[in-house]
Subunit: 330 residues, 4 copies
């Protein structure tokens, strides 16, 4: 039976600003208060934090203390290589070597911190790397820079796992590493055992993927290193609570996580703007637990048969009977 | 308690062709065989049929006989004003008065047939009216023609209800009457009591509407005349089985149908290409019945309170507890 | 020959933040510095400013002085009814009457300031009014509140023009007034001569409209009160520079502005994040000037004939011959 | 200076049907008549034809004769592995080995015909391979089958080039090989020198790619084997005429084709439904020629500098000055 360890990106407890509400829709919390909120969220075992944001080289020990104090683990360390104005035209893919080195140095810092803190995965989301306008960038150079920057840091720390997190767009109009396919293309070129992918459920939705299929493709090459959960409208990376839009796709995703034997963390990448933040975290975990149990209780042989026949009708009947019919007595 | 009468567009039992498979993915059926299939579909009380397609002026009596023989009612008569090559650059909005008159004459024929057959709603889906390219049409003339054509036929039959069915696109790259808003704008200009709207659940999704909200807007002006149900990927009018993609949006739609006291038909506009067609019809009805019952059993006062507070978290908890939690015992 | 007066929303000269870069991608400017930047932008005659943001009741005179000092006019006064945390679940549509009144009072303040400053249009963009999740709001109440709030303020100032600015989404997952059609539906219900619509080119693109068609629909009812220009990817309201994505749609839009005899301001609603802001403003105006001249030089009778025939091929040939062929000598 | 050889898929001269107009919007033509139409289209040197559709094993010689008679070349042979009802749940990825073998045998037939006819590229568009519903297919098996089927035929004909053509959707709700990234992922796994990719400009747009970037990625691995040109609304694979929607993206695409030294065919994959078909083909070639010349006349060093700086403003100014400003004299 699948037993996942749930984590949350601490930004779930932040002030949640956007370009129209710079103060944020929520009260702001210090890093310590965010960790406290995570520790108070039922079901949460770990957190994701940003190197060069939540903490840096100088506060590794202090961070370790707080994490321990709150009884948490670190599910992944993220690299803040997107929020500084100097990265506005690219970080790992910037034309300027100095800027690329700045970005790489942040990842190196994250890797060193991961070693100190015993964290398995350093997560790299290259948000600044892409373009806004047609005819704006030199795609040949951009991809040369991007791949060689990543390759370089990944090879410097052969004992540290790194995961690239793809996303369709935002903050740039189009991200460079935007799909499960471009991620795997890059991984196959780099060919490093310690380099894999973080699938963000909502990012996959945003680029019209079925996240379950994307997970299968990543697993095909042994590259599903980490999972971010949330939901959205498909128009945008809304980071909404789990299950609020894509019920069947979420259930199918958990079906395949079980099938491929995923063992890592499942981490919430959500930003509740108008709801109780701890409540949304706890509810999202409950939904995932319910879905995990539903999947566990499924008759595998029966489901396999239906899928082999692509019998969408029988599957839908099975899902609705398993759910609504049991609930509603006509 | 809501009690809906379910119908199906008989094209659900057709050969289901597309541009890559002109023969169709299914066996073809004659009109009679389609009616038979509808009569054999559990839960179906009525059908939708096309004037100038399934039948015409010369076969009204014969159609009546078949409908009676199979124990069916006619939920709506549709007007086939899109499939003839002459309508390829518009029917009701065509620049050529002769073509507009041809289209109007088909609607008049449908209205006369509706009178003979005692059918409440004549459904008008102006599929040919729109444009494919930027800078292709004279929008001023197009809208003048479109609105005056519709106004004219609607006023000729003051005792016959007509409903316009909006859709974002297909077969044209962009339809003229594409949203709930443009439909209501046109209705308010025409100002005829016998003229309303058919909401097609999937068409609303295609143009990024929440169908529940669209139904409320139509009801605000007493204009929700007819309902088409299906589901899709939002990218395209896939006409998939009910509940297969948008579970919450479908449930919310039924919540509001109840709330506004909708009394008309609920008609399936689906085209199962690779599944048993009768099976898909029956399953879609079962899903709608389950959702209808779920909505009936909801604690209205409680839900009203949550919605008044826009408490998305509490609503999601309520939905998941009502559904998954009752099913899955951890 | 069309002669437009160009304006710019002063936020074009702001720090341009987003959720990943709260400091903003640009240097920040004070209100006065923004006005100065506008005055230094070649081609700019007017500005758009926010009541309850850039200025308020207490600083009307001071604002007047600065505007005069920089030789500018005010193209429209916008109402800042979206950025305060209290509006996070709606402003004009909020369930709480106190909050609705707060929002209405801001619009009233804008209207009084407009009277003092001699500004023709008060622009209302109800960004906070909508929903994020399926099954989150009471659509019946939401629309009742929204329409009656707007109706109320519009009727209080019969000599002041107000314009509603529709938008598909952001900051809410789905806006209430999202399309040209819902705008017109609301306008027809309210039925006030002093109430019209601001079309934002990019907002129209976002909801799959062809902005030229939307302008024609607004003009059909005499309701095209104001124009916002920009461009985007259609996925999101990017507020990019004019002409950078939708060349033909922009040209067609100016063709119809001329055809319907639009006389108001054309105002840039752009937020250059990584480019010289004054440069982007000036370039956008130059593009609009070029398009305006191109449209002026078109053979109207010839174009009318092509559009009447929906001869997309001949139109495309005409456009490419008029543009590329003249430039490139093969 | 870039000199492309232009071809056209002969379906551009077909009846162009869709699900609402099975008779088609155009007169139908026999295969011979289509070839004749291609030969009469100014600028066309080659055609794309379908094995198992336009011709088969028994008519290779006859096809050769007609091609020669009309003075054409064959730019690519396509494999008709999607239009037969038996392929409705997959061809190369079908669970049933017999069906997979049927599909593979069609590709083998195309390869043998290519050898006889001296055609460089066999194009494989696996339209039937994908899924319609969430939770419908076994993704693990689907990808195993799909990749091993392709690998098998590609390895059987080491001297024949094959190209996979990715597409987001249609006829299935979601295609398996849907992006440039999944294509390259598969190619890297298979690792055959004779196996590359056909980029279809519109397919890339449909999945939110910038086609220029996709071409660069394909070229990075030496895998840009073939090019299909058209345009669309991004919502759907409309197969519209070149340049009718995405002017800058098309120009940028030709900029990069030149930069990477693409030497193959450029083939029109268009389906004019309401326009003169030969006219649309000729216009599309003229647009590509104009863009090719524009790109040739660009100051490469200057453009390189702007792109290196991601100076979107300067690039846009350059494009508009090069085009509109030269045309329109204010």
């Amino acid at each position: 039976m699948a037993k996942y360890k749930y984590a949350v990106g601490v930004w779930a407890y932040g002030s949640v600003s956007d370009r129209f509400c710079e103060q944020g829709y929520q009260q702001s919390r210090t890093f310590r208060e965010k960790l406290k909120a995570a520790s108070e969220s039922k079901g949460i075992k770990g957190v994701e934090i940003h190197f060069n944001g939540d903490f840096d080289e100088s506060s590794v020990d202090e961070t370790k203390q707080m994490i321990d104090e709150f009884g948490l683990e670190i599910a992944a360390i993220n690299c803040e290589i997107f929020g500084n104005r100097k990265f506005r035209k690219g970080a790992l893919s910037a034309n300027d070597l100095v800027i690329r080195e700045d970005a790489m140095e942040i990842i190196r810092g994250a890797a060193r911190a991961a070693r100190q803190l015993g964290v398995e995965v350093v997560n790299i989301w290259p948000g600044a790397d892409g373009h806004d306008y047609p005819f704006q960038v030199n795609f040949i150079d951009l991809w040369n820079h991007l791949i060689s920057s990543v390759k370089s840091v990944v090879e410097e720390f052969p004992n540290q796992k790194f995961a690239i997190e793809y996303k369709g767009r935002e903050p740039r109009g189009r991200s460079a590493i935007s799909t499960v396919g471009t991620s795997l293309m890059m991984l196959q070129e780099i060919g490093a055992d310690n380099f894999g992918v973080t699938i963000d459920f909502g990012h996959a939705l945003q680029v019209k993927e079925n996240p379950a299929e994307s997970a299968v493709l990543l697993n095909r090459y042994g590259k599903l290193f980490h999972v971010h959960m949330n939901d959205n409208t498909r128009d945008w990376d809304d980071d909404f609570m789990v299950g609020s839009y894509h019920v069947w796709e979420t259930l199918e995703f958990f079906y395949y996580l079980k099938k491929i034997g995923y063992q890592g963390w499942i981490s919430l990448d959500i930003t509740p703007a108008r709801e109780d933040q701890i409540g949304v975290v706890e509810h999202s975990i409950e939904v995932m637990e319910q879905m995990g149990r539903f999947v566990d209780e499924m008759d595998d042989a029966f489901m396999e048969k239906l899928l082999a026949e692509q019998d969408a009708l029988a599957v839908q009947k099975h899902l609705f009977q398993g759910i609504f019919a049991a609930t509603v007595r006509g």
